[in-house]
């Protein structure tokens, strides 16, 4: 028990952020109409590409003097992350464009 409390204290900021973000996520998304299920999903999917920041940090501080496994995998992480971000936002926009067009 003491140990759990200890961890809670050490990571209190992280735990606060998680708890509040979950609430925020639920509040923001709830009651979304069925029409928007797909765009919402693919838009959210694109946001999960925020992992790209991790990829940038990782490759940004990788030693480039040799071609290491770390560098290669890091580059893959970057490419995958970008695919997720750019592809996700682009396809969402394309879908929403269709929705808009026919509303006239």
């Amino acid at each position: 028990m003491e140990q759990i409390l200890e961890y809670f204290f050490i990571y209190k900021e992280a735990i606060f952020i998680i708890a509040l973000s979950v609430f925020l996520g639920i509040e923001v998304i709830s009651k979304v109409p069925a029409v928007l299920h797909t765009p919402l999903m693919s838009g959210a999917n694109a946001i999960s590409g925020v992992i790209i920041i991790g990829g940038i940090i990782l490759v940004g501080h990788t030693d480039l003097s040799t071609i290491s496994l770390e560098l290669i995998l890091g580059l893959f992480a970057l490419i995958f992350g970008t695919l997720n971000v750019v592809g996700g936002f682009a396809v969402t926009d394309r879908m929403l464009e269709m929705f808009k067009k026919k509303k006239k």
């Binding site: 952020i17 998680i18 299920h37 797909t38 959210a44 925020v50 501080h61 936002f89 396809v91 026919k102």
Partner: protein, 479 residues
């Protein structure tokens, strides 16, 4: 920019550092606002752009201003390499997103979800050597990021394969047990790595095994899940990718990543819950149950199937007052959305009131039918959700069921032994006439008889949905 402007806990920080953190705050807020706008039809497109601009902002400032623990910025050579990798990813992502057919949308969403999971898993894998033995917090997020990211990646790839018809459903009763064991072993190994006092270098073997186990689990977890459960699985995997990204955010103490990831995780969970509710099943039931293993529906008397000729169908429709079209996955497979809209406009021209009734789990991803019909320019206000249609369905002269099956199966009311008993359906059986367009007498995904087809009011129009609709439209035209 590099002037030290203050000191916290003995470490100096510069204007650049402050601007970087500020940009993360702005990015996180843009994600929240973007998602909020995305959940309303009028503002959805703007919301998507806001979220995208938040992402762009965070990417640029990270590239320009991020410093490692020694206080070194990202060297110029690295910047160029990163930009090239991003350029490659962006070019592929953009062109695929622009070209893909709307009918292939579920596949594309799965693929992009897989890439996000893969990126998270790779980041966690590469950051593991930097973790400090005994620092439980950083080890937990790294290990969880690796497991969840890998499962999201391999699971989404299998989901893609299934949606594209490349991978079949593998349902064996013993798979539930294998999966359970696999899950326990994976989590056990993860826990072992987290609590181990050994240095990361000494644990590398375990981490690679963990990666392999997680990838296998992702495959095994999605393999037995049938087509109609795809909306649930896609939402769930989407949620996983978000959580994996959030875990990586903790590795870097990056609030934009944490908030963005958790938001997506929560959004995915809500969609998952909505989809489960629409099928009257629990998430656990979807994952381990799968229809095949469940109760066997009682094979009651089958009754007679009656076919309808095209001219009869054309006359019936032309002289109706109210027509409801119920699309299902068959419409997507046959790519019949445009011709369905043509039928709609044609009947409209004859003074028939036409509505489309969309079941929440019709198709293979949440909102699948809405996207397809939007592509075909069916007006937004002609699409009705299940509950709105059901209140007035007994006044409807004809319902046309196009490639839908389980979502109109009255067994959900009548047959307690049926696996879909209790699932909310569109009450097609209450309409005055029912026309069912179907390729053949094959059973629906759930593998159960649909008593709607044997209903006295039902008449069948066999054939590919697109061909049948085309012929029907021609028939009405020639009247």
């Amino acid at each position: 920019m590099d002037k030290v402007i203050g000191i916290i806990n003995g470490t100096g920080f510069t204007v650049g550092d402050s601007i970087l953190e500020l940009s993360y705050l702005i990015a996180a807020l843009l994600f929240v606002v973007g998602l909020k706008l995305l959940s309303h039809p009028q503002t959805a497109r703007k919301g998507n752009l806001w979220a995208a601009s938040g992402m762009g902002l965070a990417m640029i400032t990270t590239l320009l201003l991020h410093k490692n623990s020694e206080g070194d910025g990202i060297p110029l050579t690295n910047v160029w390499i990163i930009m090239s990798a991003i350029g490659v990813g962006a070019a592929i992502g953009w062109s695929v997103a622009r070209k893909v057919k709307m009918t292939a949308m579920p596949q594309l969403v799965s693929i992009y979800n897989a890439t996000g999971g893969a990126a998270s898993a790779l980041v966690a894998l590469l950051e593991y050597p930097n973790a400090i033995a005994g620092d439980i917090g950083s080890l937990i997020v790294t290990v969880l990021g690796l497991i969840i990211g890998s499962v999201a990646f391999s699971g989404s790839m299998i989901a893609y394969g299934k949606l594209d018809g490349k991978v079949g459903d593998v349902m064996k009763p013993f798979m539930t047990y294998i999966n359970l064991v696999l899950l326990i072993v994976t989590l056990g190994l993860g826990a072992y790595i987290i609590q181990s006092p050994n240095l990361p270098e000494e644990m590398a073997w375990a981490v690679y095994i963990l990666l392999a186990l997680s990838l296998v689990y992702g495959i095994m977890f999605v393999l037995p899940i049938g087509g109609a459960d795809m909306p649930v699985v896609i939402s769930l995997l989407n949620s996983f990718t978000g959580i994996a990204a959030a875990m990586a955010g903790f590795i870097y103490s990056n609030q934009a990543m944490i908030l963005g990831g958790i938001l997506v995780g929560a959004a995915g969970m809500i969609l998952t819950a909505l989809m489960c509710k629409a099928m009257n099943r629990s998430l656990l039931n979807v994952i381990i149950g799968s229809f095949g293993g469940g109760g066997t529906a009682s094979d009651l008397e089958q009754g007679n199937i009656k076919e309808i000729t095209l001219s009869d169908a054309a006359i019936l429709l032309s002289y109706s007052k109210k027509v409801v079209i119920i699309p299902g996955y068959g419409l997507a497979v046959a790519q019949a959305q445009h011709i369905a809209h043509e039928l709609d406009t044609m009947l409209d021209g004859k003074g028939v009131e036409v509505k489309f009734a969309i079941h929440p789990v019709a198709g293979r991803m949440p909102g699948h039918m809405n996207v397809l019909l939007a592509e075909a320019d069916v007006p937004y206000d002609k699409l009705f959700e299940m509950d709105d249609i059901n209140t007035d369905i007994s006044n409807v002269d004809v319902v046309i069921v196009i490639g839908a099956n389980d979502v109109v199966n009255p067994a959900s009311y009548d047959d307690p032994a049926s696996p879909i008993y209790g699932m909310p359906i569109i009450d097609a059986h209450l309409a005055k006439n029912i026309i069912v367009m179907k390729r053949g007498m094959g059973k629906g995904y759930a593998g159960i008889e649909n008593f709607l087809f044997f209903n006295d009011k039902t008449r069948m129009l066999f054939g590919n949905a697109k061909d049948s609709l085309q012929k029907l439209v021609n028939e009405i035209k020639s009247m």
